[in-house]
């Protein structure tokens, strides 16, 4: 019997720990950004403001669907997503951000209705194996990748939101038919599929593939682990869908109530400290979006990058059609 009492005490302690009451000053963030990339930013925020942050990590689309499902009941205060599509998908659940926040970032990197704002920028690139190819051998347009020359040599991550954003950009810039054809041709060319961006870059590093379609910053993540890896980024020609410049962004949920802590968090992400994180502290190297903070040395300046002329605000409404196309062409089951 004494054992039973002891066990019961342990259980209760455990349940109490598991439910974790916490103080009133907490903020719940649904983060579609990976823990290994952004966890330090949350710590910096708590150190500075004393506000505890509970973070639920997941894929951006998963969290968007979760927010839609939860509706009024959502425990989330802030949704921080990897792509504009996921943010756009739940724009009905997001409240308008204050003008003070919106003014911090150029117009092309935020929602036209002011419901979400970009927090860091990224460019689509081709990562390539430098032992197999020199930079001038790497195609300048994604449309060259369907050439038989690249058969079996290309890697992509079709379930990843960043790849899907790129496909949306191609649809908006070139039309559905051209995009469908490109996807089918790429499949004909024995493109290799990976779960996420990092494995694509790692595959390029070991020569499993020669070219990979990824966001520019994953290169730095892999180089952190393997400094000698023979890989480099190639930025594509201006206007090419493969040169899409997109953002990770955040919005405040309407269910968050007064939302002042939530806005404080977004302000922090856009503060000099929050923006310099990408330049100085992070293992990866995204682009800061706030004026006056330079990107990491070695990166082409953000202004010099020119993707296809598409409006990031339309990525949300277009997302479903992109998924449908990816299913139709066999990239998603």
């Amino acid at each position: 019997m004494r054992h039973a009492v002891g066990l019961a005490v342990v259980f209760i302690a455990f349940v109490a720990a598991g439910c974790g009451g916490g103080s009133d000053e907490t903020l719940t963030v649904y983060s579609g950004r990976e823990e290994e990339l952004v966890a330090p930013l949350f710590e910096m925020f708590t150190d500075e403001t004393g506000i505890d942050v509970e973070v639920r990590y997941g894929d951006s689309a998963e969290l968007a669907a979760t927010i839609a499902e939860e509706g009024e009941n959502s425990p989330a205060d802030v949704f921080w997503a990897q792509d504009p599509g996921s943010l756009g998908a739940v724009e009905d659940e997001l409240g308008a951000l204050s003008d003070g926040i919106l003014g911090m970032v150029p117009e092309r990197f935020r929602d036209a209705d002011g419901r979400w704002i970009g927090t860091s920028g990224r460019s689509r690139v081709i990562v390539y194996n430098t032992e197999e190819l020199s930079e001038d051998e790497v195609p300048d347009s994604v449309f060259d990748l369907t050439d038989p020359e690249w058969k079996g040599r290309i890697g992509i991550a079709p379930t990843n939101a960043s790849f899907q954003a790129f496909v949306t950009a191609m649809r908006l810039a070139e039309g559905d038919d051209a995009t469908r054809q490109w996807l089918l041709d790429l499949r004909e060319n024995d493109v290799k599929e990976y779960e996420k961006n990092t494995p694509v870059v790692e595959a390029a590093a070991v020569g499993e593939i020669d070219l990979g379609l990824v966001n520019h910053y994953y290169l730095y993540l892999v180089q952190e682990e393997q400094p000698e890896a023979p890989i480099a980024n190639h930025f594509l020609e201006a206007g090419d869908p493969g040169a899409l410049v997109s953002v990770a962004g955040a919005g405040v949920l309407e269910s968050a109530g007064d939302g002042s802590n939530a806005e404080r968090f977004i302000e922090f992400l856009l503060s000099p400290e929050g923006q310099r994180f990408y330049v100085e502290d992070a293992e990866e190297a995204e682009y800061p979006l706030v004026e006056g903070i330079e990107a990491r040395p070695g990166l082409p300046p953000l202004d010099s990058l020119e993707g296809p002329s598409v409006d990031l605000t339309s990525f949300g409404p277009e997302h479903e059609a992109t998924i449908e196309l990816l299913r139709e062409t066999g990239y998603l089951t």
């Binding site: 509970e54 639920r56 939860e70 009941n73 425990p75 494995p199 790692e202 066999g330």
Partner: protein, 525 residues
């Protein structure tokens, strides 16, 4: 007075009914959800859907076949022949039981894969890939053949040698006697094993994801993660339930046909052992191959990574918090499961009636519900209608209980079966009330069996991956989710520490279960 005539007390019936209603909740809500989406027919009409079904069935068939091919000969060798070191092979052959299938998968990937240990050791860049169908097949065979092995061993031990002798007496040769007499007698055990293997494969999520093989579970998860629309994931989940239920029905039908009992009176004689003679060497080779691939290889890989981590120290961190969370959530699940199983077991065994039997049958629903399916349904349900428990430990534990309830019920029922109702009747006639009788007489008598049931649930919950991934509260990492996270970024060697803790922490519980079993069945341990 017959036992059936005792009317079940109302509180007992009510609590059993409540438990069953809760157990059926995930399935019921999934049906409602799919019906409400209006897209089910469209999704069922797609070719890709049926390709997933085919992939799933092909994998299950392959794993069943390879498990039987590995387990039955191994079981025969260690029970019926003069194989050298039989007990050692028997133990080593059953040990892969403690290795979670996804751990097996990442060990195989870390060993055979690109930049894996083998290609490092051989200095070869590219080896034939152990991924996709074949990779999944090997990892799942490792995880499942021990079930067939243990069941077949038990069946072989209880075979009456007189059957075999009678066949030979009728002039049938040894080899043919095996096929005519022994093999049919093994059929129920092997069949049950095959069923367990098929169910395991249908519900597996970790292996097929790591190995990159598209089955229903993997696709459900990918669609859940990457689509804003949840109708496809829900529809596929229901399809998976239908498939699982189909297999359960098939097995049930097969079991109805022919059984073999020992009919003669008296105790059974020990069986004579078959002398292997010149076949001894190939037999040892076979055993060594099985044990080498399914036990030594994963253990070696994990051990190597652990050693390397200890030397480098850079990647080495003890996952204390995760261990605590895993142990706590699983222990809760075990305790809640047996508590919930008690009213149903008492009702079914002490007050048998068509309705109590129906309640008991229904409570086995967890067998047909893969963890991912339960989790998916509960995520949907709680987000909308039960925000109090949403993203809490309670919901996670509830999912474990639904999933593993049959194990708890089997444990409680088998213990209760062995307690004669005469004891309870005696207590009642001496003036004890029903509650007192239950707590003072019944509970102490069934304690060991109940503990074994709780321990089984505990073990399964420790290893459970998909439900934990979907339902854990914010910031609540377990050993399983930690392993998953690390393997997702390819950090196999860092996953070795949580994997080893998971394996080692289940070993003592397994030992307890087997000793409880020996104690109850009265054979000397």
């Amino acid at each position: 007075m017959t036992r059936g005539a005792v009317r079940a007390p109302l509180p007992l019936v009510l609590s059993a009914g409540l438990v069953v209603a809760l157990l059926l909740l995930p399935l019921a809500y999934l049906v409602v959800r799919v019906a409400g989406s209006g897209r089910a027919l469209e999704i069922l009409g797609e070719v890709s859907t049926w390709r997933l079904v085919l992939n799933t069935v092909l994998l299950a068939a392959g794993v069943v076949l390879s498990s039987v091919l590995v387990a039955v000969p191994l079981a025969w060798l260690v029970t019926r022949t003069d194989l050298p070191a039989r007990r050692l092979w028997a133990t080593a052959g059953a040990l892969p039981l403690v290795i979670p299938s996804y751990v097996a998968a990442f060990c195989l990937l870390g060993f055979f894969g690109e930049r894996g240990l083998l290609s490092d050791a051989l200095g070869i860049e590219r080896l034939p890939e152990v991924r996709g169908y074949w990779g999944s097949l090997i990892a799942l065979t490792l995880a499942t053949y021990p079930y067939v092995f243990l069941l077949t061993q038990t069946a072989l031990r209880s075979l009456d040698p007189s059957l075999d002798e009678a066949a030979r007496g009728l002039g049938i040769s040894g080899g043919r006697a095996f096929w005519r007499v022994t093999a049919p007698a093994l059929r129920p055990a092997v069949g049950l094993g095959a069923l367990l293997v098929a169910l395991y494969t249908f519900s597996d999520f970790g292996v097929v994801s790591l190995m990159d093989y598209d089955t229903l579970t993997r696709s459900i998860y990918v669609q859940y993660k990457s689509l804003f629309d949840r109708a496809p994931a829900a529809t596929l989940a229901l399809l998976l339930v239908a498939l699982t239920a189909g297999v359960l029905v098939l097995e049930y039908r097969a079991r109805q046909r022919g059984r073999l009992y020992r009919t003669g009176p008296g105790t059974q004689r020990p069986q004579p052992l078959v002398a292997l003679g010149r076949w001894a060497a190939p037999a040892i080779g076979f055993c060594a191959m099985v044990v080498g691939l399914f036990l030594v290889l994963p253990a070696g890989v994990l051990g190597y990574w652990l050693a390397r981590g200890l030397v480098n120290e850079r990647d080495f961190a003890m996952p204390w918090g995760e261990t605590f969370n895993s142990l706590g959530a699983s222990a809760l699940a075990g305790a809640v499961a047996v508590l919930a199983a008690l009213p149903i077991a008492v009702l079914a065994l002490r007050h048998p009636s068509p309705s109590s039997r129906l309640l008991e049958r229904l409570s086995y629903a967890g067998n047909a519900l893969p963890g991912l399916v339960i989790a998916l349904s509960l995520v949907f349900f709680a987000a909308r209608y039960a925000s109090v428990v949403y993203q809490t430990l309670a919901l996670l534990v509830f999912a474990y209980v639904v999933r593993f309830f049959p194990q708890a019920l089997a444990g409680v029922e088998s213990a209760l079966e062995r307690v004669s109702p005469r004891y309870e009747e005696a207590a009642r006639s001496l003036g004890r009330g029903p509650v007192q009788t239950f707590s003072r007489v019944t509970v102490p008598l069934v304690r060991t069996g109940v503990l074994a049931g709780a321990a089984l649930v505990f073990l399964s919950a420790m290893k459970e991956l998909p439900a934990t991934l979907l339902l854990r509260p914010i910031g609540f990492e377990t050993l399983a989710t930690e392993i998953w996270k690390l393997t997702q970024v390819g950090a196999y060697s860092q996953a070795a520490v949580p994997a080893l803790i998971l394996i080692l922490s289940s070993a003592p519980v397994l030992y307890l279960i087997s000793s409880a079993h020996r104690f109850e069945s009265g054979t000397p341990g």
